[in-house]
């Protein structure tokens, strides 16, 4: 299905691109071609190498091996500025980086010229004149005096794109541009992109949302393990693309779908996560491991956070052990045996190494201090004992319980975080993206530990990686638009459910209906 473009039309091509970070190979010989006037979708799971590829193309980092051809010439960039000068413009995911707060729209539109190539003297009038020219390039209709900080994410994104176009870029890279946009805003972005495409700019579009890609992409390229594994021409078969994205090398289903008949431990009734979402029910049985999968921003984390008492449901209720359950915060939840491991362990669970209690022992003990030491006086032997037990049980590679977490690899850090919550009697364990930045070997250990945890408890896992979900869970549900959907346990059907429901979403968006 892949096409062989004529050399004259190739805007940018990379071949054999390699990049390693320590022992991790982020890119292992990636090849990619984007023609002028083409929109190529770059797909891939977390850690597939998408962002590394973008960073190399935009000059933030340099490749270990491989070549980049830009308009037929070999290039390598030492800085983002060089890439920009050569004609590669990148619009990053975080829209607050798209411009400078405190400056007006006009000043932001002319920012590149203010910062570099423009004349030394600027007058408000010349700035406005130039800004109006730049805005006209993409038919941007914004009040030029408005402060950047008052703009909505979509408007910020458009300013960044206008700047990219004004810098006479031949290649435009968009990293998750719609992640913070509403569907109408996204539609507006798409029409701008179509016009740019018509004017002959090559566009590399990175997104998790298959719906967006179906709307604008000419071609989809799938990255996995640092290599391009598949390429799909229009019309793009998203079920196949997602299957390629998450890989077929699957030894699961390890956990045969014999439905548990154990008593219901926790349940969710008629829950609406956000206003307007479809209400759903969920039962968690004792001893069960349930995974919720779905794309970024589909509401997986929100459900976990609501159960843990960090957010409130719009409607609906929870029960725990048959009694109504409504927590007002982490302290209350932990007291009642509802534990949560939030995503991004350094932001949510771990302490910097110079802090007392940043050791393995201290990390495990932190939530249990009031119960272990009711008189307040620490006995480090007790903490070390629990930690030593966890180190043995989970196979944590560490020299002693006193090691700080920054000395451990990602997988071992995650094992410590899991051990923290296995150190006390648990009713309901909530794990948000527990395999983030965890290598395959440590992941197997973590899965074994999760599956062998206390039989009287239930585990609810949120993960955007279907493969992980299949490996760890007894039962898998798909979350989309803040509502849960059933899926039968096979890999193909799961990919189909995620892919198809998103295509349906796109059709709905296309007719102007906002869910």
């Amino acid at each position: 299905m892949s096409t062989t473009p004529s050399p004259a039309k190739i805007a940018v091509s990379v071949s054999g691109l390699e990049k390693s970070f320590g022992p991790t190979r982020a890119l292992a010989g990636a090849d990619l071609v984007v023609e002028a006037g083409e929109i190529v979708a770059l797909m891939g799971a977390n850690g597939a190498g998408k962002s590394t590829l973008v960073k190399i193309l935009s000059g933030s980092i340099s490749a270990d091996a491989g070549t980049i051809l830009l308009n037929g010439k070999t290039v390598s960039f030492a800085s983002p500025g060089e890439a920009q000068a050569a004609g590669i413009a990148t619009v990053h995911q975080a829209t607050d980086q798209a411009g400078a707060a405190g400056l007006t729209v006009a000043e932001n539109l002319t920012l590149n010229e203010l910062c570099g190539t423009g004349s030394f003297f600027v007058s408000p009038r010349s700035t406005r004149k130039r800004a109006a020219e730049i805005a006209a390039l993409i038919d941007l209709d914004l009040p030029l005096d408005r402060d950047f900080i008052d703009l909505r994410p979509a408007e910020r994104q458009l300013i960044a794109i206008a700047r990219a176009v004004a810098s006479k870029a031949s290649v435009l890279i968009l990293d998750e541009p719609t992640s913070s946009l509403s569907s109408t805003e996204a539609e507006r972005l798409f029409s701008v992109l179509r016009r740019l495409k018509a004017s002959g700019i090559a566009i590399l579009y990175i997104s998790h949302r298959t719906g967006d890609l179906a709307a604008i992409a000419d071609r989809a390229v799938v990255l996995r393990g640092g290599k391009v594994v598949a390429s799909f021409a229009k019309p793009i078969d998203f079920s196949a693309a997602i299957a390629a994205m998450i890989g077929r090398t699957l030894d699961a289903n390890a956990h045969e779908g014999s439905l548990s008949t154990a008593p219901i431990l926790a349940s969710v009734r008629d829950a609406r996560l956000i206003p307007g979402a479809r209400p759903f029910d969920l039962n968690l049985r004792s001893g069960e491991v349930v995974a919720i999968t779905g794309t970024l921003g589909s509401g997986k984390s929100r459900l976990l956070r609501a159960l843990f008492g960090l957010e409130t449901l719009t409607e609906g209720s929870f029960t725990l052990d048959g009694k109504p359950w409504l927590s007002n915060g982490p302290a209350r939840s932990i007291e009642n045996g509802v534990f949560m491991v939030a995503e991004d362990r350094w932001a949510s669970s771990l302490l910097p190494p110079e802090i007392p209690g940043a050791s393995i022992a201290g990390t495990i003990a932190l939530p249990h201090l009031p119960r272990w030491f009711p008189l307040g006086i620490l006995r480090e032997t007790r903490e070390r004992l629990v930690a030593a037990d966890a180190i043995g049980r989970l196979g944590i590679k560490a020299r002693s319980p006193d090691d700080t977490l920054d000395q451990l690899s990602g997988g071992n850090q995650q094992k410590v975080v899991l051990a923290r919550w296995q150190a006390a009697p648990c009713r309901l364990l909530l794990l948000d993206e527990p395999f983030q930045g965890v290598d395959v070997g440590a992941r197997a250990d973590l899965i074994a530990a999760i599956r062998n945890s206390q039989s009287g408890s239930a585990t609810l896992i949120a993960t955007s990686d279907t493969e992980e979900a299949l490996e760890v869970a007894d039962r898998i549900l798909v979350m989309r638009d803040h509502s849960l959907y059933e899926a039968d346990g096979s890999h193909e059907s799961l990919a189909a459910v995620i892919g198809s429901v998103e295509s349906a979403e796109t059709r709905a968006d296309g007719t102007g209906q906002t869910p």
Binding site: G22, P23, P330, A331, S333, I334, E335, M340, A342, A347, S348, S349, L350, L351, P352, P353, E354, I355, P356, G357, A358, G362, L366, P367, L369, P370, F373, G376, I377, L378, K397, A398, R399, D403, D406, Q407, L408, S409, G411, N412, D439, V440, G441, A442, D445
Partner: protein, 338 residues
């Protein structure tokens, strides 16, 4: 294929690490020997205790600052709290004719209350730590002048309403600042030692200290682990305010009058002591032992230089040099970046 990164065991402790860990102790010992050889009178016990007495107030305030810093905050109001405490203690005895015990209770309560106000501003209202304590600093610096119309408080002073103050400093009150245990150890030094010991125990050996540090290290992580982070931050400021007023009581009992200029340099000295403490034992965080040692370090250096006839106006310069050196030692100088 897992975890090669950690398997390689790191050498027990390199020379550079050891050197950095004990650098301040070594420098302190070198200073003591140096000043002793240059000026033999330096090392007699009366002088050493006078150094400790001189630094006691700074050390006590510094302990408060480091507690707030450990919880991720910063108390800029300690100097003003101490200064207001001097005025409040004098006013209580000279104008309100309270006795020593009542004065103590009143002033400590005032310090705790100011700390509570700081904490509520920060935790409830949401003002950033530095700004909240900066504004209470200004507020107190002005407030302490109002009851006496901007004048210092002495026995028999004229009050703004034209009457004469009837009270006087309670002699029992002055023992704190002027007395010595067994005629050798000044009471302020003992108070400093007790405060340091209790605070060290709280911060290093109890779960409450652990949570203070956890909040400073990663407030989200502490919150998700079930710690009532707001209550802890509130308590940090209450402790800091109380300790600052204790420092003010010591100053008041030493000078024996309500001096409007008392405590002028206390804030910067206390903050400097806390920051120098980062380098002690290479902890790279605020800690009680380091703060006390930082205060003593500066005290010894200033005392020795004064004995060697260095002019008084070089003092701030010397403090600055020590601070820059200690921070460079803490954060840079041949350290591998993590």
């Amino acid at each position: 294929m897992t975890d090669q990164a950690t398997a390689s065991s790191k050498p027990a402790s390199t020379f550079a690490e050891t050197a950095r860990k004990y650098a301040l102790f070594v420098l302190l010992a070198a200073m003591l020997v140096g000043f002793w050889s240059a000026q033999p009178a330096f090392i007699n016990s009366a002088n050493l205790f006078s150094i400790l007495q001189a630094v006691s107030v700074v050390a006590i305030l510094g302990v408060g600052v480091s507690i707030t810093m450990s919880a991720g905050g910063f108390d800029l109001s300690v100097g003003s709290v101490a200064a207001s405490s001097v005025m409040a203690a004098s006013y209580a005895m000279v104008v309100l004719q309270m006795n020593a015990v009542e004065t103590f209770g009143l002033v400590l309560l005032m310090g705790a209350f100011i700390g509570l106000v700081n904490g509520l501003l920060i935790v409830r209202v949401g003002v950033p730590d530095l700004l909240a304590t900066l504004s209470t600093m200004f507020l107190l610096a002005g407030l302490q002048l109002i009851p006496t119309g901007g004048r210092s408080i002495t026995a028999g002073m004229m009050l703004p309403n034209g009457t004469t103050a009837a009270g006087a400093y309670d002699p029992a009150f002055l023992i704190l600042g002027r007395g010595r245990l067994f005629d050798t150890v000044p009471y302020p030094v003992i108070v400093m030692a007790v405060v340091a010991l209790l605070a060290w125990f709280l911060m290093e050996r109890t779960r409450w200290g652990r949570v203070f540090y956890a909040i400073g290290g990663n407030e989200t992580a502490a919150h998700l682990a079930g710690a009532p982070t707001k209550a802890y931050r509130l308590w940090a400021y209450v402790l800091s305010g109380t300790l600052a007023s204790l420092g003010g009581l010591i100053v008041a009992s030493r000078v024996g009058r309500g001096d409007v200029s008392a405590g002028n340099s206390l804030l910067l000295d206390a903050v400097a002591a806390s920051l120098i403490g980062f380098a002690v034992l290479d902890k790279r965080r605020p800690h009680v032992l380091g703060t006390v040692l930082g205060a003593i370090f500066v005290g010894v250096l200033l005392n020795g230089l004064t004995m060697l006839n260095a002019p008084y106006y070089t003092q701030d310069f010397v403090k600055g040099v020590v601070l820059v050196g200690a921070l460079a030692l803490t954060f840079g100088l041949g350290k591998k970046k993590r």
